[in-house]
């Protein structure tokens, strides 16, 4: 079964600064990888996804993520953070051989943005 870790529980950055949120997964083959964002009291919104091909994927709201097989990582990046990016970010992993196709979510990283 797949698993995913997000080593940072809480990150604080200043508005305009760059951002990198870490995600590491455990799975025996190439997984499906996703980043979701959850604003307070809201559901989850898909930021970007990786299935195959180019390991650098672009998403919405100026986010990008890079799949690194050698490091089992799928870190989320943004060059310049906006105050509206403050939210909870979840990395999720799907297994290609998972009959049920359910995804496993990481514990989340809370992003705070200083003015």
């Amino acid at each position: 079964a797949q698993s995913v870790t997000q080593p940072d529980i809480h990150i604080t950055v200043s508005e305009g600064a760059s951002l990198e949120l870490r995600c590491n997964y455990s799975y025996g083959a190439t997984p499906y990888l996703f980043w979701y964002v959850q604003s307070p009291g809201q559901g989850l919104q898909l930021l970007l996804k990786y299935f195959s091909g180019d390991t650098l994927v672009q998403g919405i709201k100026g986010f990008e993520a890079e799949f690194k097989r050698s490091q089992s990582s799928f870190n989320l990046r943004k060059p310049s953070v906006h105050w509206s990016d403050a939210a909870e970010y979840f990395c999720a992993v799907g297994a290609r051989d998972n009959y049920g196709q359910n995804f496993v979510f990481g514990p989340g990283t809370r992003l705070s943005v200083l003015p």
Partner: protein, 114 residues
């Protein structure tokens, strides 16, 4: 519509009472998933459907939880005899093909058991 509609948004039940949550997936999405998010943000998979058929129910506490997705009706998640630890936000998600499109999530139902 283009959103996953979950009702109600909030639900309060006394311990031991029944709770029923509803989810209308996006039209054309044949996969429906239920997740439970507890206070520490952990997402626990409960059950998935492909159309009206249960696809995977390995996460369901079967003694009290049940779920259905019937044709032409919203999907439902029912908890018999709620317990305090059932307090959580329950998210429904749908997809035409999870490995291609990922999930589209609803905004969740917050269940509080008192």
């Amino acid at each position: 519509g283009e959103e996953v509609a979950q009702t109600p948004k909030h639900l309060v039940r006394g311990e031991g009472q029944k709770a029923k949550l509803y989810c209308a997936p996006i039209k054309g999405h044949s996969y429906v998933f239920w997740y439970q998010q507890v206070l520490k943000n952990e997402f626990k998979f409960l059950i998935s459907f492909q159309n009206e058929n249960v696809f995977d129910e390995t996460g369901m506490p079967k003694e009290r939880f049940s779920a259905k997705c019937l044709p032409n009706s919203p999907c439902s998640l029912e908890i018999q005899a709620t317990k305090l630890e059932d307090s959580a936000v329950y998210f429904c998600a749908s997809s035409p093909s999870p490995e291609v499109y990922g999930y589209t999530f609803g905004s969740g139902t917050r269940l509080t058991v008192v």
